[in-house]
């Protein structure tokens, strides 16, 4: 029984749908709703950030200035580039150019990994500077308020960590899609998974677009 149903449904059109358009619509809508969930997920942290930044503006400025703004800006650019290559991959999907899909997805993957690598480097640096909240030797120069300074770095690690976790998941998804493309699963008629993975990837990019100024660019004008 189960087998016959399984045969009846093709990859491009699952049994519960009537038309391919209906299926694509449903998948896209599903992804967007999932992204809304993600907005709220990050939203909790943004709420905490808002409260504590307004409570301790000076400390947040000092702590923010201890981050490496050049690296942060470059990493932002890397992520934006990856978004560009991602959308190019989706475009290749629309046109059914299988080799181009793979090419652009691999570039996206590389950019994603570069971003994560740079992030790892930044975290190591923070660890060595004793800026990690879990460390007993935590200390931030330039402010007597070590508690709120810790709060900043807690938020920094929680937010960038959560973002990085999403990147890791994204890298996994891209790898899967590259393999599936290789196996010839997608065509100009059916490339919904690439499209949806793209939405996810761009969303993660957007989160970073906000994290970068909020974490790296507070009170940069003040003398160090």
């Amino acid at each position: 029984m189960e087998d016959s149903h399984a045969q009846a449904e093709t990859l491009a059109l699952r049994e519960q749908f009537d038309t391919e358009a209906q299926q694509k619509d449903a998948s896209t809508l599903g992804m967007w709703i999932f992204l809304i969930t993600e907005i709220m997920f990050f939203g909790g942290m943004f709420a905490a950030y808002t409260i504590y930044r307004s409570a301790y503006p000076t400390v947040f400025g000092v702590a923010s200035s201890s981050l490496n703004v050049t690296i942060g800006a470059i990493n932002t650019c890397v992520l934006l580039l990856s978004s560009f290559t991602m959308v190019m991959a989706v475009r290749a999907g629309q046109l059914g150019q299988r080799n181009m899909i793979i090419f652009f997805l691999i570039i996206t993957l590389i950019f994603g990994c570069v971003f994560l690598g740079v992030k790892a480097y930044e975290w190591t640096e923070k660890y060595e500077e004793h800026h990690m909240p879990g460390q007993i030797a935590f200390h931030l120069d330039g402010t007597p308020l070590q508690g709120p300074a810790k709060l900043f770095f807690s938020l920094y690690f929680a937010m960038t960590g959560l973002h990085a976790l999403h990147m890791v998941v994204g890298v996994g998804i891209l790898t899967f899609i590259i393999l599936e493309t290789k196996n010839g699963k997608y065509s100009a008629d059916y490339y919904t998974p690439i499209d949806i993975a793209g939405l996810y990837w761009h969303f993660v990019d957007i989160v970073w677009i906000f994290l970068f100024p909020l974490l790296y660019l507070i009170d940069r004008h003040l003398p160090k």
Partner: protein, 543 residues
């Protein structure tokens, strides 16, 4: 009996595969609903056992039955299990899963595999929570208030929080699936305003699940980080603010109340209509009131924080906004009552539960107005008044609707009728037991008995004894259906496709339904609840 079974051997969703694999890897929303039903029944039994132990302890003023550590773990685990593993999945994941696609004429939900995944997530979360209980329990209260939960409690907070976190994603995925299904999977002719109100209610619930649940997920992540890395977000020693936790927690947990009760309201709309053979009075108002409750429900969470150290003005704002939830709730109750007017009212068991729901929800809702009133809430918050209030909504509301819906759709789900006499008796016992359990708690609360007390002053004993006695009756009331439902699976009368003479699409297909719900996808030409479409012979056969 045997011949009847033989005759009935049509292919349906239950008999098209018997192996364990055919269940555990199913993508059929009806089978997943059954899996959910079994799962949450177990959780209900566990949560109920904790409740019984709590009531037993409170029979006498001193803390003599269990130690205070144990007592604290009991009420915490009662809350965690009942809220996150029973009430939140209860109606949407069982009846919603089973009937929402059928009611809109779809073959399945939009994402059947996601649906199965969400069941596995609930199981995974449940296993974590139960592991935490067996390993030593958790004693923070289901609210996990900081800094107690982050710094002072040395129980299994992390495991439990992780369990809730995972179960939360189960809830998100269910909501997401429902929303997409309602938008994209409706049968031809099934316009928005032809949808049964149960679908509207579950749609609104889906909105809350999708928008609210992630916030508690991230809050639990922060609690987790605070315990493991001591990051200070909620720690006053480092300049953090414990009240922020309460904001984030109630941003979800207040709307979560509507996750629990909205689907119940949807069930009641179906029951009232079917058993009075009338279209629900003010259909459009009832439909929109569900969405209104979902939306306004997000604006009122601060009424849990009136005495917590929230600012004076925030208290005023939240109290004011809270009263706006009263409008859509009142609209529902009045419209249900008006539906009965000039109806043809049957007293079948589901209808008795519907009456019970309206009555108890009315009391629960009205006492909600009490606690939203600032000056009054200062006195009764964190007392048994609040306990009584939310049990009237959760148990008197949601569980009454759950039981009503279960009886109503039992013939469709299993193909068997339940024994009507026993069912009526147990409905009556539950109603009486419930009121004896929880009404005295209103008085207890106003007199001053704080919640989460292991031992209490002597003068409160009489009311506590009443409450415990009521709880015993209530427990008996819940045990009876467990027995006769099981009995009916084998010995119950064979159910016809439409035993109640109801109008929904789910009744236009055999009981139990075939795997793909309908032989042909129906084309809808009438509004919901149009009883002129029900064939006369169906009504005659109908009880």
């Amino acid at each position: 009996m045997n011949t009847a079974v033989a005759v009935e051997e049509k292919e349906n969703y239950l008999n098209n595969g018997y192996g364990l694999k055919s269940w555990l890897l199913t993508k059929d929303h009806k089978r997943i609903a059954v899996l959910y039903f079994i799962t949450i029944s177990i959780f209900f039994a566990i949560g109920g056992t904790f409740a019984s132990l709590i009531r037993a302890e409170l029979l006498t003023p001193p803390g003599d039955l269990v130690s205070s550590e144990t007592y604290n773990k009991l009420f915490t685990m009662h809350g965690v299990i009942m809220v996150f593993f029973f009430l939140i999945p209860s109606i949407p994941a069982t009846m919603g899963n089973f009937f929402l696609p059928m009611m809109i004429g779809a073959r399945d939900l939009a994402f059947p595999r996601v649906n199965l995944l969400s069941w596995y997530l609930l199981i995974a979360g449940g296993i974590l929570a139960i592991y935490a209980m067996i390993a030593g329990g958790v004693d923070t209260g289901w609210t996990f208030y900081t800094p107690y939960s982050t710094t002072y409690s040395n129980t299994y907070v992390i495991t439990t929080a992780l369990g809730i976190f995972v179960a939360g994603f189960s809830s998100i995925l269910t909501g997401l699936n429902f929303i997409v299904t309602v938008h994209r999977m409706r049968a031809p002719g099934m316009t928005w305003f032809r949808m049964p109100l149960f679908v509207w209610a579950n749609y609104a619930t889906g909105l809350i699940q999708v928008l609210g649940t992630p916030v508690i997920a991230v809050t639990l992540v922060l609690v987790f980080c605070e315990r493991v890395f001591h990051i200070g977000i909620f720690d006053p020693q480092l300049g953090g603010d414990p009240i922020l936790f309460q904001h984030l927690f109630w941003f979800y947990s207040h709307p979560a109340v509507y996750i629990m009760v909205l689907p119940g309201m949807g069930v009641i709309s179906e029951l009232i209509s079917t058993f009075s053979r009338k279209a629900v009075f003010g259909y459009g108002f009832v439909a929109f009131s569900s969405v209104a409750i979902a939306v306004i429900g997000f604006l009122v969470w601060g009424h849990h924080l009136f005495v917590s150290g929230q600012s004076l003005y925030a208290g005023l704002v939240f109290s004011f906004l809270s009263y706006f939830v009263a409008i859509p709730s009142a609209i529902k109750v009045f419209n249900w009552t008006a539906t009965l007017y000039k109806g043809s009212i049957s007293f079948a068991t589901p209808m008795l539960y519907a009456f019970g729901f309206i009555g108890l929800f009315t009391i629960g809702g009205l006492t909600g107005l009490f606690v939203a009133s600032l000056g009054f809430d200062v006195h009764v918050t964190d007392t048994y008044f609040v306990i009584a209030h939310f049990h009237y909504v959760m148990v008197g509301g949601t569980i009454m609707a759950y039981m009503g819906g279960l009886h109503y759709w039992w013939p469709k789900m299993t193909g068997r009728m339940y024994p009507e006499g026993w069912a009526k008796l147990s409905a009556l016992i539950i109603f009486v037991g419930f009121n004896f359990t929880f009404f005295p708690q209103f008085i207890l609360g106003y007199v001053g008995m704080p919640r989460r007390y292991h031992a209490y002053p002597d003068e409160y004993q009489v009311l506590h004894v009443l409450s415990t006695a009521g709880a015993t009756v209530l427990a008996l009331g819940y045990l009876m259906p467990a027995v006769y439902f099981l009995w009916s699976l084998r010995y119950g009368e064979i159910a016809s496709a439409n035993p109640w003479g109801a109008t929904g699409l789910e009744w236009q297909t055999p009981s139990p339904p075939p795997t793909h719900n309908f032989e042909h996808i129906p084309v809808v030409t009438h509004d919901a609840y149009d009883y002129t479409t029900v064939p006369r012979e169906v009504m005659e056969v109908g009880r």
